[in-house]
Structure formats: C-alpha cells, structure tokens
C-alpha cells in the first residue's frame, strides 16, 4: 500500500472524496462528477479532473498543477503525449447502453498505454519507451515494465494525436499488458473500488492556444459502475448477508409462486441513495478557486429525468438543463460547505427512466477451434442501425506465439436485412510478428452494412514456447489483449470529427504446456540409458570370458555344493522313512 503515495492526485483524491485539488486560476483547474443511474440498481460515476501547467514551468520542473513524479518520468523519457488506461471488468452494453466518453477514456482489461515519444531514431524511441514503462511501473505499482518489445506495436490507423505538437520526429508506441490492473488490485479493499466495472485514465498532452501560449494538460478520469445496494453496505460491516424473506420481491406470475417459494426480482427497484451512502462521505463543497460561474462551475451533475424528485442539502443549488437537451441537473456547490442529496427509491414501474444511448456497434471476439496446435479467431460485429453503415478500424495486437494466417482472413455477412452487395474489408495494415521480438499487428478497415451481423475470422497456429518462457501459472493460459475498435467518420453536434472507441474482452489462449518436471525426467532417463549402454559395453570390453567347466570351484561354490548335498540327504531321509511307514 506504500505506492498510494505516488498515485497522481486525482486517483488519490478519489479515495478521500475531497472534491478539490490544485487550483488557482480558474482556467487551470477543472473538476466534475457525473452520476448516471443505470438499470438494475447500478450507478455510473464519472470523475474528471483536468489541470494545466504552462510549458515553461513544466520544462523548468516547477510543478504546480502537475504531479511532480509523473512529470519527471515523462521528461526523463522524452514523452510528449501520454495516454494511460487502467480498466477492469466488462462494460455491459446491453443493459448499460453506450460507453462513457464514447469509449475514449477506457482501455483494454489490464493496462493500456500509448505515447508519442520524441526521438531521432526508432531504436532510441524504443529505448525511451522502455524507460517510460519502467518509470510508470514504479509510479503506479503496476507491472508495466512487462510491456516490452513483444507487447509493443506502432499503430498507424487506430490512434490519433490529440495534442498540438511542433516537432515532427515523434514516434507512436502502443503497449497492452492484459490482466489484472496494478492500481485496481492495489486499491482493492476500498469501498469505492468495489465496482462492477471501472476505468481510470491519465492523458497528458501539450496544448497550444493561438500557437503561442503552450500548456501541458493533464486530464485524469475515473469511471465506475457501482452496485448501489453493495456500495451502501456500511464500511464497518461489509459482509453481504442474504435478504430477509419479507424483503424479497417475488415474481408472482411464476406458476410455483406460493407462500414458501419465491422467484426474486430485484432489478425493478433502485434503492434510495445519497453521496454519503455510496462514497462514504458528502462532497466537501466547491473547490474554492475553481471557476466560480458558468457551466464549468457546476461540478456535480445528475443524469436523471426532470420528473424525478431529489432532496438536496443546503450546500448547493440546482440548475436543470433547458428543454430540448438531454434531461439532467447540475449542482453548484458553495465553497467550504459540505453538500449531499437524497435520491429516493425509484422503481421501473412507476418512474420514468433516462433513456440510455445505444452503442453504434457491438463487437464480440471469441476463439474457435480445438486442440493445442491450431485455432481461429472470430470477431462478430452487429450494426443495430436500420439505415446507417458503420466504418471502423479493427486493431489487434497479438502476441508472437499466436501466428495468424492472413490468407484466411475473411469477412462475411452472417445475418442481414440489407439486400445489397457490400464490400466489407476496405483496407488492411499488417505487420508480421518476429519470434520473441515483436507481436503481430493487424489493422483492418471494415464497413458494416446497416442492420447486419458481420463475422471476421482468421486461423492461427499456436507456437511452442521454450521451457523458460512459460510463466509460473502456464496451465491457466495466456491472455490475448483485447481488440480495439475505432469507429470512423462520426461527427459530434458541432460537426467536428469525433473519436469513438470500443474494446472487446480479452481472451485466454491455451498453449501446449509441457510437464515442468520434464527436464529432470529427461536428464534421469537419458542418464540411465547412457549408463546402461556404457556399462554393458565397458564390461564386455574389460571382462574375461571363459567356459564354465574351465573354472575351478571357488569357496562359495564349494559351500553351496555341500549345503545342497546336505539338503538332499535330509530330504531322502524324511521321504524314505515316510515311505517305509506307508508300506
């Protein structure tokens, strides 16, 4: 838990829920919490903390709004733009709707990192990238130092620079470390991190206003889906207990419903909650020096229909969104005054729910085939829209021991209500793997026709690893990083190009795994065979062979002979007397 100290401010603050950080000039610091109740008693909480540092102060290491340790790591590794994601859990598109931030602030399960590094040569860029990973690994207590060359790719279509850069010699490097995220595991045990899905992001990019005032912007977000009932458990007594029979809501339509049988339906009601219930304490009031007026000042927003009532405390006042816009209400808090509200119990039957945005496309990736030698990858895209085709880039970064055959890459429409011919694969960027040095990188530009299900498949071979390359828990399988889907040609309300991302789940690849006592067995078996062969040959060579009758008897032979003689006479005696008696 020592590393908590080194977490960037926002992550740290989340734990304590003090809602204010480094601040001074209004434009240099911004913070916001969006709360959206989701179906099935869940709550999406999105924190955002954004601060700026002037490029001058950043370069001379006078950090005010920027975490010093992170700034020093970035400068040490010549990193100009950084995007770091920690994600755990799976976003349930079917019940929760579209992803927060259009998926731009979330990463693959585990750690995902991409950065633009300034350097003259590729080798130097790689060296700096490894330095960066090691530095961040120490800072976040995550094993990011395992993002080595084999896990690093150079995406060409899937990621775009978002900062303003002056220098041209920047190299983009992307690395994924699938598995349990370091920070997430670190923060385990805290109530707040008892979330069904959570994602943390850190984005650092240079920003230039009118080409003169250059700033370094750090944007930190934390999004999580909390189960309200679980979050409401008191901190002192977090043990879950079965619901009392009288509290159960039963589905009375079931034929077996009776006094003592019950089919519980717990999804219809969202329990009452307040900030204190969910986060353990009320908001500490507005940040004294964040912007005091305007839309940026309302740092707490609730995405609920206007028809729903909320009891608010004295520390803030409510502003509702004007008609025509999505229904939500924001709260302007007063500095130094704690703020909380009470959300009454709501039920699907009686209360209008906020309409969740639908995802533009859903993607599902699975592995096919059986056996330890071969397999296949299948990605299924579903375009729910009846009219709009979706263009996207499918980015896959595969480990080197998974060897895809590109000639088997096929895209086919499995199911469609769209009657015309459609060219699905528009473009393909492929960088083959080099054993033990780098992984495969595949970027496919796809176009999914409206109201269709498209399946993209390819076959692969599983490589056999060297004995020492297996991890300690080799039989568990190897995690294949999720695929990143970037949806193209989408514009926001004001007509600017908009980035929308989604990620598939990570996969577990079972490789042929040896028995790990094998080397010792092999040593012993080979040694035995060699010793046997050697011993018999050597004995034949040095022994002298003579005929049996040529050898005079030795002492043991004589002894054996006399003993045998005695036994024979004894036997004769006994059998002889016996014979006499019977006769």
């Amino acid at each position: 838990m020592k590393c908590l100290v080194s977490l960037p401010e926002a992550l740290w603050v989340l734990l304590t829920f003090v809602s204010c950080l480094s601040i001074v000039a209004a434009t240099d610091y911004f913070e916001r919490l969006d709360l959206t109740p989701l179906p099935l008693g869940s709550l999406l909480a999105s924190f955002e903390f954004r601060s700026n540092e002037s490029l001058e102060a950043y370069a001379s290491q006078d950090f005010r709004y920027f975490p010093r340790s992170l700034g020093q790591v970035l400068q040490h590794a010549g990193t100009k733009e950084l995007h770091l994601r920690f994600t755990t859990g799976r976003w349930d598109t079917e019940t929760w709707g579209a992803r927060p931030w259009d998926g731009t602030k979330e990463g693959a399960t585990g750690v995902e990192l991409w950065a633009w590094i300034e350097s003259d040569t590729e080798q130097e860029a790689m060296r700096k990238w490894l330095t960066l990973n090691q530095g961040l690994s120490g800072l976040f207590c995550a094993s990011m130092n395992f993002i080595d060359e084999t896990r690093t790719t150079k995406p060409s279509l899937s990621f775009q620079r978002t900062g303003d850069h002056r220098n041209a010699s920047l190299h983009l490097l992307h690395g994924v470390l699938p598995g349990k995220a370091g920070v997430a595991s670190l923060l385990d045990g805290h109530k707040v991190f008892d979330a069904s899905w959570q994602s943390m992001s850190v984005d650092v990019r240079p920003r230039c206003v009118s080409g003169q005032n250059c700033l370094v912007e750090i944007d930190q977000t934390i999004d999580m889906v909390l189960n309200i009932a679980r979050a409401k458990r008191p901190r002192e007594d977090p043990i879950p207990r079965p619901v009392q029979p009288y509290e159960l809501i039963c589905d009375e339509t079931k034929p077996y419903h009776s006094q003592d049988t019950c089919y519980p339906i717990d999804a219809l009601e969202t329990p009452a909650w307040s900030l204190k219930d969910v986060f353990g304490r009320p908001a500490a009031g507005a940040c004294p020096l964040a912007e005091e007026g305007g839309p940026e000042a309302k740092s707490l927003c609730l995405n609920i229909p206007h028809s729903q009532g909320v009891w608010i405390g004295a520390g803030g006042f409510e502003v509702r969104s004007p008609p025509g816009e999505a229904e939500k209400r924001c709260y302007q808090m007063i500095a130094g005054e704690p703020f909380d509200f009470d959300m009454p119990k709501t039920s699907v039957r009686t209360h209008k729910q906020i309409e969740l945005e639908e995802e533009l496309i859903t993607a599902e990736r699975t592995m096919t085939g059986h056996g330890a030698a071969k397999g296949g990858m299948r990605t299924v895209f579903t375009n729910p829209s009846a009219t709009e085709p979706v263009n996207l880039v499918l980015f896959e970064s595969l480990p080197w021991f998974l060897r895809p055959f590109m000639h088997t890459l096929k895209a086919q429409i499995v199911e469609s209500e769209f009657p015309f011919e459609w060219e699905i694969i528009k473009d393909l960027y492929y960088r083959p793997a080099v054993d033990r040095r780098r992984g495969t990188q595949i970027e496919v530009v796809l176009s999914i026709p409206p109201a269709s299900v498209v399946m993209v498949t390819y076959d692969f071979d599983k490589a056999i690893l060297r004995y020492t390359e297996y991890p300690p828990d080799a039989n568990r399988g190897f995690i294949v990083a999720p695929a990143v889907v970037r949806i193209l040609d989408k514009a926001d309300a004001s007509g600017n190009a908009k980035a929308i991302y989604l990620r598939t789940t990570s996969l577990l690849l079972a490789l042929p795994t040896p028995d790990f006592s094998m080397p010792y067995n092999v040593i012993i078996l080979t040694s035995t065979v060699m010793a046997l062969a050697f011993g018999s040959i050597f004995n034949i060579l040095i022994r002298r062979f003579v005929a049996f009758d040529e050898v005079p008897e030795n002492k043991i032979g004589k002894l054996v002979k006399s003993a045998r003689l005695r036994v024979a006479t004894l036997k004769e005696k006994i059998t002889g007397t016996k014979a006499d008696k019977t006769e």
Binding site: V5, S22, R68, Q72, T528, G535, V546, E550
Partner: protein, 521 residues
C-alpha cells in the same frame, strides 16, 4: 584374482588389450570429458586487476592555487612576494600546499583564491564580496613582512580544510601516522564539528536532485513565487558547484496535505507549539508525494509547510527559527504567512493568502540555502566567506569522489576474491579498467594542478571514475548466478556420473590390482 589358479592362462595379448581399453577410457575422460564439462558449466569470470584495485594511495597531496594581484606593486616585486609567501606558507599543513602566483589581473574560477594587495594603514586582510576576493593591506614600508602576514593568514584560513581532508582520509582508512598525529593536535571542537557535519551531509556523489515542495493544510496558498526564490537562493549555489556536482531542481505544490497524524501541536498563549520530539515524525510519508526523483543520485527534500488557519502561528517549542534539518534527508520550514482580510464571506474575516510572494518566502529559502550547504557537506568554517567555502568544498568533494571510487574498487576486488561463484562479466572489467585509468589521471592531475583550469580536468576525471566504479560495483548481472553453486551442478549430473563412474572405477581398480600382482611375480 581368485580365478588365477586353475583357470586357463590368459595370453599376453588379451591382458595388454584389456589394460589398453581401461587406460584409454580414462585418458579420454580426463583429457576430453572433464575439461568439456568444466568449460560448459563454469561461470564467466573476467580476471580483475585486484592488485591495482586494492592498492592504497595514502601519499596524497594537492595544491591550492592562490593568485596575488595588485595595481600598485610592480610585476617582479609581486612575483617575489608570491614566491616568499609560498615558501613561508609551507608549514604543518602537509596534505596540500599553496601554489601562489602573481598576476596583474587574476581570473575568477572554481578553485583559485584571489588576493588583491593595496597599501593601507595597517596589516589587514578582509574579504570583499564585491570583487569576490580577499583584500590585503599593508602599511607604508611594511612590504617586507607582508609575505609573513599572508602566509599566516592562509594557514589559519585553510586549517579547517586541512582538518577535513585529514578526517576524510582517516575515516576511509587511508591515513598514515602523520595524519593520525595531526588529528590529535586539532582542537576538540573542530573535530567534533567536522564529524557532525559529515554525519549530517549526504554521501559525496556527483548527482543530486533537489525537490522543493509547498505543502498546505488547506486549499490556500496554492501558488508561490518559486522561480524567483530559486533564482535568488538555490540556483547560484547550483551554478557554483556545477563543475563537481550536477544538481537538478524541481518544485511542486500540494494542497490538503497535513502533517503526520501522530503530531499534536500544543496551544500556548496565542500560538501553537510543536514539541521537539515531534519534529522527527513531522513528515507525513504516507500521503506526501515525496518519491525520489528519477535518475541517479539522492534526492534532497525541502519542504515548506503552511499550517491550517486555526493553527497559525505554528512555532517550534524552543527554537527561535521555524525550520529544522533532517540529516541526510532534507530540511523543513514552517511558514506562517500573514493573513489577508476577506470581504467575500462574513463567516471568516481573515483567510490565508492564495499566493505566497517572494518576500514571504525569503525566511524559508534563507534557511533552505544554509541547509542545502550543510546537506551537501560544504565546510561550515566561520573564517571563510561562502564563495571560498564553495571552492574548498569542490576540492573536498573531488577528493571524496576519489576516495569513494577507490573504496568501491577495493570492495569489488575483495568481493570477487571472497565469492568464487560470482560471475564477473567482461563489461564490468571494462568499467573497472576505465575507472582505474581515470583514477590515475586524477592522481596525476591532483599533484600537478596549480590553476583553476587544470583543476577542472581533475573534477571531470574524478566524476567519471566515480560513475564507472559505481557502474562496475552495482552491475546487476553479477548477482544473478550467485545462488547456483557447484554442489547443484554435481547433483544434476549425478544420475549420469554415478552409473558411468562405478564400472570405470571398478575397472581401474582391477587393472591396478593385476599390475601389482604382475609386479610381485
């Protein structure tokens, strides 16, 4: 053999064939098998030049360049004065000698001590910070005894440097009888001071990071005039030491960070007091972002703490100043900024200022400056001004880099001798060679340097030697294989060696026996 009697007699050919078989097997095993096994399983050990690494150089001495200049004295007169001063200054200080030279215009550099001579009313030597040199005056006609006065002045002013050098050599085990007897003649308080200063300071190195932090208990103040304060108090020192030490400076601001919960200030009159025993636990290591800076070298922390409004003013229990030094870690200052009146709210009439201006930072940074000098190990002598002490420190730190280098190399050599299983890769040998080469350059340079320019080459070679020796000593590839001992190797091969070895040995024994039997007959 028991079959000798009665068995058919073996032909000579058979006997010799058998003995040839046994011996040839043994020859192949001894000449081919064992060396192959040895070569394939042995650890790579480059042969280190242990003698050179362990060699101690206790006959160490150097020269302190002194430059005399005068506007009124003729050139040859001045040269004579310099020569006489140098001759007289050679006294009990045997670890260095003064190299006095005369010039019309002396150049300011990292090590040279400048003395300007002018006529005055009486003999008098004062430091002038304007010209950054000593100004020596002599009465009319007092020229002949001026060398004596200058020599006495130099000897007394540099006594502490001499004592520090002697102490350093003594603690690093490179002292001889002269040094030991010299240390005994020193006044007790001087040795105590040197010892205390050595305990407070960081280990000498070539890289340091300064991390200057503002921690506030509440939300204000949240900005400070840090650049100006750094430029005034810290950067001049960093620049002055740049030839021996590379010091990087970073600053940060952190709000809502309170001191350790175990520290409880006591209220007395209208002030809050920190107890003396709380000072050691004041730093909240769990929450304050004090992680060491990236890169080589230690991080020196300086903390400015602004307490919450209700605890202002927060003072130390007994001390008049509000700052204290944590040995080998950094310095802490509690800053009680003047409150500002607040018109916006009726609840609080006075609040903490949002911004700390330069004037309010002055006391904190003045103490940081002295603390920095103490932490680096700059001599604390009262006789010399700061500029001269920094010059003295550069010489001392070059010397201590040299001592640490030779101690690193010595430890590495002893380690390699002690642990026979430790691998010594080729690049470690390269680092050692380069460190040794630079060390000898430094030794050469130390005795011959008489000017600031030649001293700067000493500094670079001392730093380079130190860096190389650290690289060699802390090379990570040397630790990896230590835990794979010879017994382990034998154990793995035992299933092969055992069954193969037994018939071989039995065969050899039989052969021996028959040879002995034949001899007897």
């Amino acid at each position: 053999m028991s079959l000798a009697m009665g068995t058919p007699v073996e032909t000579q050919r058979e006997v010799s064939l058998r003995s040839r078989v046994v011996w040839s097997f043994w020859v192949i095993i001894l000449l081919l098998g064992l060396p192959t096994w040895w070569a394939t399983t042995s650890i790579e050990r480059a042969s280190l030049p242990s003698d050179l690494m362990l060699a101690s150089h206790d006959d160490l001495w150097y020269s302190i360049p002194v430059c005399l200049s005068s506007a009124s004295i003729a050139k040859n007169e001045l040269a004579k004065l310099a020569w006489e001063t140098q001759k007289l200054a050679k006294g009990q200080q045997f670890l260095f000698k003064f190299h006095v030279q005369a010039q019309i215009q002396c150049q300011q550099d990292a090590v040279t001590t400048l003395i300007t001579i002018a006529e005055g009313e009486d003999y008098d030597i004062q430091y002038s910070s304007r010209s950054a040199s000593f100004e020596a005056r002599y009465p009319e006609g007092g020229m002949p005894s001026l060398p004596f006065h200058l020599a006495t002045f130099l000897q007394s002013a540099f006594l502490e440097e001499h004592a520090s050098v002697a102490y350093q050599l003594f603690t690093s085990g490179k002292s001889n009888e002269d040094i030991q007897s010299f240390i005994q003649t020193l006044p007790q308080d001087m040795t105590n001071n040197i010892q205390k200063a050595a305990n407070r300071a960081f280990k000498p190195g070539s890289n340091y990071h300064l991390s200057i932090s503002l921690f506030t208990a509440g939300s204000a103040p949240s900005s400070w005039d840090i650049r100006q304060a750094l430029d005034t108090y810290i950067e001049p020192i960093v620049y002055a030491l740049s030839s021996t030490s590379n010091i990087s400076v970073a600053s940060q601001v952190q709000l809502y960070s309170s001191f350790s919960p175990s520290v409880q200030p006591q209220q007395r009159d209208s002030t809050w007091r920190l107890k003396k025993e709380d000072l050691t636990s004041f730093v909240n290591t769990a929450e304050w972002p004090l992680s060491p800076s990236i890169g080589q070298g230690p991080t020196i922390n300086f903390i400015t703490y602004v307490p919450a409004k209700q605890f202002i003013p927060l003072l130390l229990d007994d001390n008049s100043t509000n700052s204290w030094l944590v040995p080998q870690w950094g310095g802490i200052t509690i800053l009680n900024p003047p409150l500002r009146s607040n018109e916006e709210s009726e609840l609080e009439s006075e609040v903490l200022p949002d911004h700390l201006d330069h004037a309010s930072l002055v006391p904190a940074f003045e103490s940081f400056q002295t603390q920095l000098l103490q932490l680096l190990g700059v001599p604390q002598s009262t006789k010399l001004p700061l500029q001269e002490r920094l010059k003295s420190f550069q010489r001392l730190s070059a010397l201590s880099l040299y001592l640490r280098t030779s101690s690193n190399l010595g430890s590495l050599a002893r380690l390699a001798q002690r642990l026979s299983n430790i691998p010594i890769p080729r690049h470690v040998l390269r680092s050692v060679d380069s460190a040794l080469a630079r060390l000898s350059v430094f030794q050469q340079c130390l005795t011959t340097s008489t000017t600031g320019e030649s001293w700067s080459t000493c500094f670079t070679s001392a730093r380079a030697a130190f860096v190389e020796s650290e690289k060699a000593f802390f090379d990570k590839s040397m630790v990896g294989q230590v835990y794979f001992p010879d017994e382990h190797k034998v154990a793995v091969y035992l299933p092969l060696l055992g069954p193969v070895g037994v018939p071989l040995v039995v065969g050899l024994l039989g052969e021996m026996k028959s040879i002995i039997g034949r001899r007897k007959r």
